[in-house]
């Protein structure tokens, strides 16, 4: 049923032919940041396991997390988690049926971008 004449029907225009908009870019970034956070998640779990295993393994895991690579991942993840956090709040707001008109949606988009940078800077200063 579902695969009748699937091959030669006209395709609807795909995402790449549309002009990028603030709302579409902030939306796809929500997905990218959310999925990207798996790297920090795995590193944190590994670091905890190392700490529970013993001092030698901890020293190794700790060195990896505090290397330039680890610092880069965690700096990126701090921004990603704040971005995803704010975008998630916007999602909850959208889901309640509010904020869906274009001027409000664009303001919320800028709010997420600027807000995530501000929160990242504050986090890095505090930590």
């Amino acid at each position: 049923m579902a695969d009748v004449n699937r091959g030669n029907r006209p395709l609807s225009p795909h995402i790449q032919i549309y002009r990028k908009q603030l709302t579409s870019v902030t939306s796809i970034l929500t997905r990218i940041t959310g999925n990207g956070l798996i790297v920090a998640g795995i590193l944190i779990v590994w670091w905890l396991l190392a700490a529970a295993t013993g001092p030698d393994y901890f020293a190794f895991a700790n060195a990896v997390l505090r290397s330039w690579f680890g610092k880069l991942v965690f700096f990126g993840s701090i921004w990603a988690v704040w971005y995803h956090f704010l975008a998630g709040l916007r999602h909850l707001y959208y889901d309640s049926g509010r904020g869906l008109d274009i001027p409000t949606a664009e303001k919320l988009g800028w709010g997420i971008i600027i807000g995530s940078v501000v929160l990242t800077v504050l986090t890095v200063i505090i930590l």
Binding site: N35, G41, V45, I78, F85
Partner: protein, 123 residues
């Protein structure tokens, strides 16, 4: 019909029949994480980079251990459900099934390893 709530009317519809439930679980875990994540960032951020004895002492205390355990559990479940939607958007057929199973197993494994480590650190 007039007695049914909006959610009740949406339940069981769509091709998978489980979309309403999935959406609701995403909302619940999102609200939980909206509270947990800011607390976790500063709880975990404070100890990352400390010495081994300090780390042992820190996770022996109830607050850091409970916040870390809760955040790991809720966020990996939230990740599993979110990544599943992304996979369903881009992958099809056997690839889709394999990826969803893979992500689900990875998330369960991370929760198990994280909680085991915390229990060992705390006790």
């Amino acid at each position: 019909m007039a007695y049914l709530t909006d959610r009740k009317r949406a339940e069981g519809l769509g091709s998978s029949k489980t979309g309403t439930e999935h959406f609701w679980h995403m909302q619940v875990s999102a609200v939980a994480l909206a509270i947990l994540i800011p607390v976790f960032i500063f709880t975990f951020g404070r100890i990352l980079g400390a010495s081994y004895p300090e780390v042992l002492e820190y996770f022996g205390r109830p607050f850091p251990a409970i916040v870390t355990g809760l955040t790991l559990f809720v966020s990996f479940i939230h990740f599993k459900n979110g990544a599943q939607v992304a996979i369903e958007d881009y992958a099809h057929g056997l690839t889709r099934k394999a990826l969803i199973i893979g992500v689900t197993c990875l998330c369960y494994a991370c929760i198990a390893v994280g909680l085991f480590a915390l229990v060992r650190l705390a006790l």
